[in-house]
C-alpha cells in the first residue's frame, strides 16, 4: 500500500507540475501572443521609433514642462520598475508628515501660480511606487505651470487631460484617473509638430 502511494505521490506531482507549471502558462502565452500581443509584452509605448515606457508603468517627470506623477518610494531611484515597493510608512509615523511637508514645499515652489489646496495624491507615494496615474485634481493643479512653460493654451492642456482620463467602469470601480505618460506624450508630440512646422 505504501509503495503504491509513494509512486502515486511522485508521479502525480510530476504530472501536475507539467500541467500547471508548463502547459498552462505556455498555453496562455500562445493565446496572449495571438489575441493581445500589445498587452502581453507590457503595453509598451513608442515615440520617435524608440520604446519610451509602458502605458501601465509610471515614470518620474520633473521640470516645468511636464505634468508630474506621484512621489515614488522605490530604490535606488524613483519609479524603478524592476523593484516595486511602497513607503510602508505607518499612519502615525512622524517621518510621513515630514516627507509630505517637504513635498508640499517643493510642489508649491514649482507651481507658484497654482491656487487652492495641494491634491493629496501628489504628495504621497503609491502602493507600487509605479502608479501611472494622478487624480484629475492633481493634473489641473499643474496646468498653469505647464501652460506657462510650454506656451500651450490652458484649454488645449485641459483637452489632453480629458483624453488621458479613464473613468470608473460601472460607476463604482475605482477612481477617475489621468495617465501621466499619455498626457506628457501628447505634449511632447505637439512640441515636435510645432518645431517641425517652425523649422
Amino acid at each position: 500500500m505504501m509503495v503504491r502511494d509513494m509512486r502515486a505521490a511522485g508521479m502525480l506531482f510530476v504530472a501536475m507540475a507539467a500541467i500547471t507549471g508548463v502547459i498552462y502558462p505556455l498555453a496562455m502565452l500562445g493565446v496572449g501572443d495571438i489575441a493581445f500581443p500589445h498587452q502581453v509584452h507590457g503595453s509598451l509605448v513608442r515615440y520617435r521609433g524608440r520604446v519610451v515606457g509602458s502605458v501601465l508603468i509610471g515614470q518620474r517627470f520633473r521640470g516645468p514642462r511636464w505634468f508630474w506623477g506621484r512621489p515614488s518610494a522605490t530604490a535606488p531611484m524613483p519609479y524603478n520598475a524592476a523593484a516595486s515597493t511602497a513607503s510602508n510608512l505607518g499612519p502615525t509615523n512622524p517621518v510621513l508628515r515630514a516627507h509630505v511637508q517637504a513635498r508640499i514645499e517643493a510642489l508649491k515652489a514649482a507651481n507658484p501660480r497654482a491656487h487652492g489646496p495641494v491634491p493629496e495624491d501628489l504628495v504621497t507615494s503609491s502602493g507600487s511606487g509605479l502608479d501611472p496615474d494622478i487624480s484629475i485634481a492633481a493634473a489641473r493643479y499643474q496646468v498653469p505651470r505647464v501652460a506657462e512653460a510650454t506656451g500651450f493654451a490652458r484649454g488645449r492642456l485641459e483637452r489632453w487631460i480629458a483624453r488621458a482620463t479613464v473613468s470608473p467602469a460601472a460607476g463604482f470601480m475605482g477612481e477617475p484617473v489621468v495617465n501621466v505618460l499619455k498626457l506628457n506624450l501628447a505634449i511632447a508630440r505637439a512640441r515636435l509638430a510645432q518645431r517641425a512646422r517652425g523649422g
Partner: protein, 585 residues
Amino acid sequence: MKMAIESLFAVIVAALVLGAPLGRYMARVYAGDTFWVTRFLGPIERLIYSLSGVRQNDEMDWKRYAVALLTFNFFGMLFLYGLLLWQGDLPLNPAHFSAVTHALAFNTAASFVTNTNWQAYGGESTMSYLSQMLGLTVQNFLSAATGIVIVLALIRGIVRAKTRHVGNFWVDMTRTVLYVLLPLSVVLAIVLMEQGAPQTLSPYVHAHLIAPFTSGKARIAAQTIALGPVASQEAIKQLGNNGGGFFNANSAHPFENPTAFTDYLQMVAMILIPTALVFMFGRMVGDRRQSGTIIAAMLILFVPLALASMRADLANNPLLRGLGIARSHSTLYDGGGNVVGVEDRFGVANSALFGSLATATSTGAANSAYDSFMPLSGLVNLCFMQLGETVFGGVGTGLATMLAFVIFAVFIGGLMIGRTPEYLGKKIESFEIKMVSLSILIMPLLVLIGTSVAVDFAAGRAGTFNPGPHGFSEILYAFTSTANNNGSAFGGLSADTTFYNVATGLCILFGRYWSYLPLLALAGALANKQKLPANAGTLGAHGPLFMGLLIGVILLVGALNFFPALGLGPIAEQLSHVHVLAHAR
C-alpha cells in the same frame, strides 16, 4: 461611503451569483458524475491515473489520506526548495538572479506549499521566470487543491456512516486541479491579459525616457521594466487564495492588477471558491439550509467589519492636518482619504475592501500598502485573520475551520439544553471535541507565542520599521498572517532575516498541519459513526438561533484570545491619533 457600499455589494452579489452554480458543479465533479466537462477532460484525468498507478475506487481511511497529503506536500516542498537553490544554474532566468539563501528558500517553500504565500522577497528582483512558473505557480494550484481536499474528506465524514473511508486523496487532488482550478484560471488569465497583465518570457525591457531626471547625483535616462509570465500566475493567485505576488508590490503593481475592473474581478475571485464550497457542502449533505446558515453567518461577520475598515481609511489622517492638502477626488467621488500607499486607479475605498477580502479569505494579496492603513483598518485586517480564517476563509480550509466551529457550537448548544449534541445525525462525543479544540486553539498559541518571542529578542525587534505601537503591530501582523496561512504583511517589517525566515516558516508549517490534521482525524471518526434520525429533541444546526450561537462562539474565541494583543498594537495607535488630533493646529 456610497461608492464603498456599492463596491462591497457588487462583490458579494457576484460571488453569490457565481458561487451557487459553481458549488453545484463541484458537487457533481466530486461525486464522479459523467457530464460534458468530464467527457471533455476525462481522458486527461484517466491518463494521469494510469501514469501514477492510481485506482479511482481505491478508498482511503483518514490516516492513509493524511499520509498521502503529507507525502505529496513534502515532495512539493522539496522540489520548490531545490528549484530555488539552483535557479542560478537553470534556464529561463533572463535577469540572471542567483540562488536564494537557504533560510529564504525554506521559508518560501513552506509558505507556498501551505497556501500561505508569505513573501520575504520581492518577486521581480529575486525569482527567475522558471521559479515563478514551475515553482510558485505549481504550488499555487496544489496548495489550493490541498485545502479543498481537506474539507472534502471532512464533508464525506459527515455524510457517510459506518465506514472507515473518507475518499481517495489522489483522485480528489486531480479532479480539483483539472476540473475546478485550471478552467477558472484560464478564464481569469485571459481577461487579465486583455486588460494589460503581461504574459511573456522575454527579458526585462529597457525604455528610453523622454524626460531624463537626476536622482541623487546620477542622471537617469532609462527605465528597466520587469516583465514575465504574470497573467497565468495572477489568476490562480487570486482564485486559489494564495496571494503570493509575481511582483513585490503584489496586486498594487499595475502589471498584476492593471485596471479598476481587474481589481473588481480579483476581489470576486478571492471569495468565489470559498462561497462555492459552502453551496457544495449543502448539496453534499443534502440539507441546503446548512449553506444558507453558514453563508449568512459569514456575511454578518464580514459586512460590518469591512464597512468599518473602509470608513476608517476614508477618513483623513490627522497626522497630515494643517499642511494644506486636499482630498484629491472629493469633487467627483467620495474617494480621497488616506491615499498613502494606495494606487490612484483603485482609490481608498476599494483598497480597504480588497484588504478585508484578502484577510477574510486566506489570500493575503494586497492592492495597497497595509502598513500605511489607518490604525482601525489595519485592526480589521488583523481581526479577520484572528477569527481563524472562518469568514469565507481559505479555499477548503476556511469551510473546514467553519465546520469545526459549527461542531463546537453544536456541542455548547447541546450542553445548554442537556441533550447529547449531534450534528447532521452524527453524535458529537469527546474525541470529536478534542480534535476540534486542537484545531481551533493551535493558531492563537502560535500567534501569541511567536509575537512574544519576537518582541523579547533583539533580532525580532530589529525587524520593525515604524516606531511605537505600529512597530508592535508589524510583528503581531507577521505572526498572525503566517500562523493563519494568510500571507499578507505590514510590509515595513524586514522579514528576510534568518530569525524571521525560520520563525515565520515554523509558524506556517504548524499553523497548517497542526490545525488541519486533527480535522482529518475528525473526518475519520465521524465517518465511523452511524447516522441517527432527527427527533424532537435535536438541536437543528440551522436557522437564526443557531446562527447567533455560531457567531457568538467565533467572536468569543477570537476576541478573548487576541484583545490584549490588539490593545497594545492598533488600538493604542488609534488612541495616539486622538492625541495628535488634540495637538494639531
